[in-house]
């Protein structure tokens, strides 16, 4: 299994290292969050290049959306090892709940979003709680969450009065605001992702993060040193699910149209798994790296829809066989090793 | 029959057994004495193939078996009777026994031999192994090992969980087997029984052989007496 060590973010080039005058503590805080800021700035520049193309904007909106999903999944699976095969369902819960609440009950979009995110958090927390109180291992947690995912999909299809079933739901609320335009939704979702990354980073540096690492390493030892494993697992489940649900809800309003296939297992969970595995399970920026890589890959494969599935399958096999830590961390480690070797050689000369 | 040379083995990179060397000649009964945690089970597991040794060699019946897999070693005639039995709980006593003879079938005569040796098992031959008492399970484990007509029998603390009477019975059975020509290596914490049966013995502590000698010599040894025989 991929060890969920919280790998440090890639080393910063000398120019961005903070100056010591501000004080060591602040320096380390800046160091910790700087990569997120770097990612944010770079990502914010993308629309300057692609802003005119509707299809490109849709693509990168999809990319940021999935980055958000993967951060949430990372919090649940990367931090506490719970195999939640229901990311799509949680996102769909958020999406449909928010759409139905705002369109049918006239709830303001912001409120609907919060309620939808909260609903996903409750459901996710419940799933976590069940898994934890019945001591379900990886397989059973995976099966139960998969069953939930499929059942939810069928629920969406079956409850046609509420969800319009297979034909999909038009989401009116919010479409007349900035969310309905071409570029702003990207920034909305990007802001969400950056917020999630900040939360994840803060978590990693806090006592909670320490508890996560402890229980991931050796559950019994963690329990003996006073870490309430059950509580932390449920916490991770609640938080991650909230992230996923909120992202799914926001997407519904920006897209203006959702259907059960938007949030299906094959559409969401498969991609999320592969993205996280590639980027590094448990790492901070892994979700971003993975999402960027596979959004690009999807675009490249878009013309050949047929063997997209074959490629995904092959990628999964190769990834989990050859790069249990994820491709990105392995490459990073390799670069570190080369660096050490060349600097050592230089010193000898 | 069995020659162990400089064998080291352990788990997760840490050796528990360090450079152990000893031998067992054909038709001998050799006792391996040591307290809990001395490394007896680790040593046995390394010999019979359940644990890959980190160093050293094991030669059995003229052939090197170091690092070979357990089922291959079992088929060569080295039968291991583990302390934690490893029986098949949902299969009947007779089925467990038959599996012991797996590579060589048919097994009816051997089974009768085992039943003669352990009449209790004959009574319960159709019972599921998981429902047997501790002592009966122990007997079944020994019986299963005998089904393959082994050349060498490795027993890991066969008296665990047995009442003194059953333990004596078990050793009586082992004595009978020895008289039939079976070579036996037995690891024991209950030293008096083992020394009674054995020709020679080794003392294993902290993963190393500390003493060796004939059973009589070991029995007279003051350190052995103090540590294992409860004689101050």
């Amino acid at each position: 299994m991929a060890e969920a060590t919280t790998t440090e973010q890639p080393e910063l080039p000398a120019t961005t290292r903070p100056v010591a005058t501000v004080g060591k503590a602040t320096g380390s805080v800046v160091r910790a969050y700087a990569p997120i800021a770097v990612v944010g700035v770079l990502a914010a520049l993308l629309p300057l290049h692609y802003g005119d193309s509707r299809s490109m904007m849709r693509l990168i909106i999809g990319g940021v959306l999935f980055a958000a999903y993967v951060v949430g999944f990372n919090v649940i699976f990367g931090s506490t090892g719970q195999l939640f095969l229901c990311v799509g369902a949680l996102a769909g819960l958020g999406g449909y709940a928010s759409a139905i609440l705002s369109d049918r009950s006239g709830l303001p979009v912001v409120l609907a979003l919060l309620v939808a995110g909260g609903l996903a958090a409750v459901v996710g927390g419940l799933l976590s709680w069940i898994a934890v109180s019945r001591s379900l291992g990886v397989i059973f947690t995976g099966i139960v969450t998969l069953a939930f995912s499929l059942a939810f999909h069928n629920l969406l299809l079956g409850q046609r009065d509420l969800t319009r079933g297979e034909t999909g739901l038009v989401v009116d609320a919010g479409s007349d605001s900035f969310l309905g335009e071409r570029v702003p939704p990207y920034y909305a979702l990007l802001a969400l992702v950056l917020a999630y990354l900040v939360i994840h980073r803060a978590l990693q540096r806090s006592r909670v993060g320490w508890a996560f690492r402890a229980l991931r390493d050796d559950e019994i030892a963690a329990e003996l040193t006073g870490v309430d494993v059950k509580l932390y697992r449920v916490l991770a489940g609640v938080l991650g699910s909230a992230m996923i649900g909120l992202a799914g809800a926001l997407y519904a309003h920006t897209e203006g149209f959702i259907s059960p296939s938007t949030y299906a297992f094959g559409e969401v969970d498969v991609r999320v798994l592969v993205m996280l595995a590639f980027g590094g399970i448990g790492s901070l920026l892994g979700p971003v790296i993975g999402s960027a890589a596979f959004t690009a890959l999807d675009e490249w494969l878009a013309s050949s829809n047929e063997y997209r599935l074959i490629i995904y399958g092959a990628v999964i096999v190769v990834l989990f066989l050859g790069f249990p830590q994820g491709v990105a961390p392995s490459v990073h480690a390799l670069v570190q090793r080369l660096r050490r070797r060349t600097s050592g050689a230089r010193r000898r000369n | 029959m069995l020659e162990v040379v400089e064998l080291s083995a352990g788990y997760l990179g840490e050796n528990i057994v360090h450079e152990v060397s000893f031998s067992v000649a054909e038709r001998e009964v050799v006792a391996l004495i040591g307290s809990n945690g001395a490394g007896k089970t680790t040593l046995f597991r390394a010999i019979c193939g359940l644990l890959p040794p980190s160093r050293g060699t094991v030669v059995f019946d003229g052939g090197r078996i170091t690092g070979r897999r357990a089922h291959a070693i079992a088929r060569r005639g080295l039968a291991y009777v583990p302390a934690d039995r490893h029986l098949f709980p949902d299969m009947a006593v007779s089925e467990n026994l038959d599996l012991g003879a797996y590579p060589h079938r048919p097994a009816r005569e051997r089974r009768q031999l085992v039943f003669d040796l352990f009449p209790r098992l004959a009574e319960r031959s159709r019972q599921a192994a998981g429902t047997l008492s501790g002592g009966e399970q122990q007997m079944l484990t020994v019986g299963r090992a005998l089904m393959a007509n082994p050349r060498l029998l490795l027993l890991d603390e066969p008296t665990t969980g047995l009442s003194p009477r059953l333990a004596a019975e078990a050793y009586a059975a082992l004595g009978a087997l020895r008289n039939h020509g079976l070579t036996i290596l037995v690891a024991e914490q209950q030293v008096p029984l083992a020394l009674q049966l054995a020709d020679r013995g080794y003392v294993l502590e902290d993963g190393r052989i500390q003493l060796d000698g004939t059973a009589a010599e070991l029995g007279q040894n003051p350190d052995v007496q103090r540590a294992y025989l409860g004689i101050a």
């Binding site: 059973f140 629920l155 599935l309 096999v317 | 357990a70």
Partner: protein, 286 residues
């Protein structure tokens, strides 16, 4: 009502057979074969292609079964070796994910090359009257094959030395090794067998309704539900669960609806895991 139940029984026998393959592989090595459905479809597609090419039905069926078995064998000898090298949850997770990848590769390949292919075996003859219900010959033959295979499996596992050797590895792998049983060989054999069983289910299914090329995922989910409810690792449990769930399936689909039916089946699996993880006849171990 009788007709519905009988239909459910016919379906249930196939469900059972489907679950058996999956549960065996899990019981042996802790690998959850998420490509089970795809192996079934692979076998069915080979049969369809051979028949398209003019091969007689029986020969085509044998070819399909052999193909599925061969792929199973190949998977065990190659990819799964990496999985078996690990222990505990690490093994379970890797096995699950690798087989998911394999499932995508197989399905992707089949859908890509033969997007409109499907298997339909028409069995000639008039409907036969069973308990007052007219059963189509296709259903009867499918049921007969399922029952026959089930009986053969029972005989194999309970009475033959090799079958007992397989059970011994499931019940205690180290003990089996000490008896001279080679667990790796047993695992390869069983994975090949499960491939054959999966294909057999698809083929018998095609006797009552066509099996399309993208049926893999549904079959895998079904196999999973049956295996979980029956108790992972228990062959008789899978059969029992299969029959029960088959009847539940048809009754529910007939009187309520398809979406609810799927939810009911999924719920059965979830409830089993939460309330009684060892399933109906499982061995009460993890």
């Amino acid at each position: 009502m009788k007709a519905v139940v009988l239909d459910g029984l016919v379906l249930g026998l196939q469900f059972g057979l489907l679950g058996v393959g999956l549960t065996l592989v899990y019981g042996l090595g802790g690998v959850l074969n998420l490509a089970h459905g795809q192996l079934a479809v692979l076998g069915a597609m080979v049969v369809a292609l051979r028949m398209d090419a003019g091969s007689p039905a029986v020969l085509a069926v044998l070819t399909g079964l052999a193909a599925a078995g061969a792929v199973g064998l190949l998977l065990d000898r190659t990819l799964l070796q990496a999985v078996y090298r690990r222990r505990g949850e690490s093994r379970v997770l890797l096995g699950l994910l690798l087989m998911l990848g394999v499932a995508f590769m197989i399905e992707g390949f089949l859908v890509w090359r033969y997007p409109i292919e499907s298997l339909r075996l028409r069995i000639g003859g008039d409907p036969v009257d069973i308990l007052g219900v007219g059963m189509r010959t296709g259903s009867l033959l499918a049921s007969a094959i399922a029952v026959g295979t089930g009986a053969a499996l029972v005989v194999f596992f309970r009475l033959t030395p090799l079958g007992k050797a397989v059970r011994s590895v499931i019940q205690n792998e180290e003990g089996a090794q000490l008896c001279g049983v080679n667990p790796a060989m047993v695992r390869t054999l069983v994975l090949a067998l499960s491939g054959v069983l999966a294909a057999l289910v698809a083929i018998t299914r095609s006797m009552t309704s066509p099996v399309p090329v993208d049926a893999g995922i549904d079959l895998t989910i079904l196999a999973l539900i049956v295996a979980v409810v029956g108790g992972l690792g228990s062959v008789s449990g899978a059969f029992l669960a299969g029959v029960l769930l088959g009847i539940v399936n048809t009754v529910s689909a007939h009187y309520i609806g398809t979406y609810v039916t799927t939810i009911v089946l999924l719920g059965a699996a979830a409830v089993t895991i939460v309330l009684r993880p060892s399933g109906l006849l499982g061995m009460g171990r993890e």
